[in-house]
């Protein structure tokens, strides 16, 4: 136990195509929904964290006077890092009630800051001149090495998307809900070899927010508290070409075990898993780097339906970035699904789930944050 619990959690009222809301409105909509969920108002918030927009903007927009602020921005897992930093702030008395917000007009592009890379940055100098076109092309480098090293087939990669669509089919808020086959994936448009369209994440609009406080205050809130048992974080490199090992994420290998060690949970204790899936190979890396599978064995593990509905390790139960939603920084939605599963309110609820592990990626394997949640009080 870290001593901190989630007492408010919500996504934006709408997800998908939301052209009527700007990025900051999406932040605010999610924040107001989370405040309502927790039965408090913005004046009760004294800790604020966000990424994609500045905390200054959100504090002004929401009317918050924080005594603690975190603007850590390391990509889509920034919100996992915010959770970890908020735990430290709460237990050391820097604030009492933390709001973490995410809002991103990823599809409609209304009031969005964008992902521009300065020409003088490391990536701008040493990768951009050779023509990569953002994540779909950059993420091909590790997956092609993985395929050669471990003999993963195109069909096995496609199965990741097939299984996640099974979960999405149970979720009324998922963007894509129609069941698909391995052939459907392999016959979808080739985006950047070896990725087909259905192996790439969605691009949608939306947001989400979390409210955290100390366990001893959590009983005063209306929702069933979700306890944060452990957290981990790390970064590796801004350049995917400089990964220590293209078949494994160093940031995953640091953040994941740190979170599970702090939580005091073994792999067999984990009932539910979220692994940020911007592209189909990420859950494979996550399963191996967290230690649920040995290197090279995750494709078979997924192929054999272990992470599918009814499997022994339900994973990405909202449908994931591949089928549920992906605004650009998906980490918040993975956290939201872990919280729903621990509250027992998920559309595809895993029965009797008590421990959920949520692993995020930032950039192209550049960063990671991992949170272990539980609904058990002992």
């Amino acid at each position: 136990m870290t001593g901190v619990a989630v007492v408010g959690a919500a996504e934006t009222t709408e997800l998908g195509k939301v052209p009527g809301m700007s990025q900051i409105q999406l932040h605010a909509d999610a924040a107001l929904n989370a405040l309502q969920d927790a039965g408090i108002s913005a004046k009760d918030i004294d800790g604020l964290a966000t990424a994609g927009s500045r905390p200054t903007d959100l504090a002004h927009y929401l009317g918050i006077t924080p005594t603690w602020v975190d603007g850590t921005a390391v990509g889509g897992c920034s919100f996992m890092l915010h959770v970890r930093h908020a735990v430290a702030a709460l237990v050391t008395g820097q604030c009492t009630t933390v709001l973490i917000t995410h809002g991103e007009s990823g599809r409609s592009g209304i009031g969005r800051d964008g992902f521009g890379r300065a020409p003088a940055s490391l990536q701008g100098q040493f990768e951009a001149p050779f023509g990569p076109m953002g994540p779909p092309t950059l993420f091909t480098l590790p997956v092609l090495r993985y395929m050669k090293t471990y003999g993963m087939s195109h069909e096995q990669l496609a199965m990741v998307a097939v299984v996640q669509r099974e979960w999405a089919s149970k979720n009324p808020r998922a963007s894509f809900r129609d069941l698909i086959t391995v052939d459907d994936v392999l016959e979808s448009k080739l985006i950047a070899y070896p990725f087909h369209l259905l192996e790439c994440c969605l691009v949608t609009d939306g947001g989400g927010a979390l409210i955290l406080t100390l366990n001893n205050r959590a009983k005063d809130f209306p929702q069933k508290p979700v306890f944060i048992l452990g957290c981990g974080e790390s970064v590796e490199t801004p350049m995917i070409s400089q990964m220590e090992d293209l078949t494994s994420s160093r940031a995953f290998r640091v953040a994941g075990p740190a979170a599970m060690q702090q939580a005091g949970v073994k792999h067999s204790d984990v009932d539910h898993l979220m692994v940020y899936d911007a592209f189909a190979h990420l859950p494979i890396y996550g399963l191996e780097d967290l230690g649920f599978c040995k290197p090279g064995e995750a494709p078979d593990f997924i192929w054999e339906q272990n992470t599918a509905p009814g499997g022994k390790l339900p994973m990405n139960t909202n449908g994931g970035g591949l089928s549920y939603m992906h605004s650009g920084m998906y980490g918040m939605y993975a956290l939201q699904e872990s919280v729903r599963q621990m509250r027992g309110t998920a559309p595809a609820q895993v029965s009797n789930a008590e421990v959920s592990v949520c692993l995020g990626v930032g950039g192209m394997f550049g960063a990671s944050g991992c949170i272990v949640f539980s609904n058990a009080t002992d």
Binding site: F126, R145, K148
Partner: protein, 44 residues
Amino acid sequence: MMTNIVECEQTPEQLDLDMALEVVFQKINDEITLPFFRRERDKI
């Protein structure tokens, strides 16, 4: 390092992982010259 393989058809069949390469420098402008790679000549 990030680079491009040049003088080669840009297909998965031709772009073979771990094939032996040799560097070729291409002048982009008066200030910038970039390193690219092609299949090693004596392996063709």
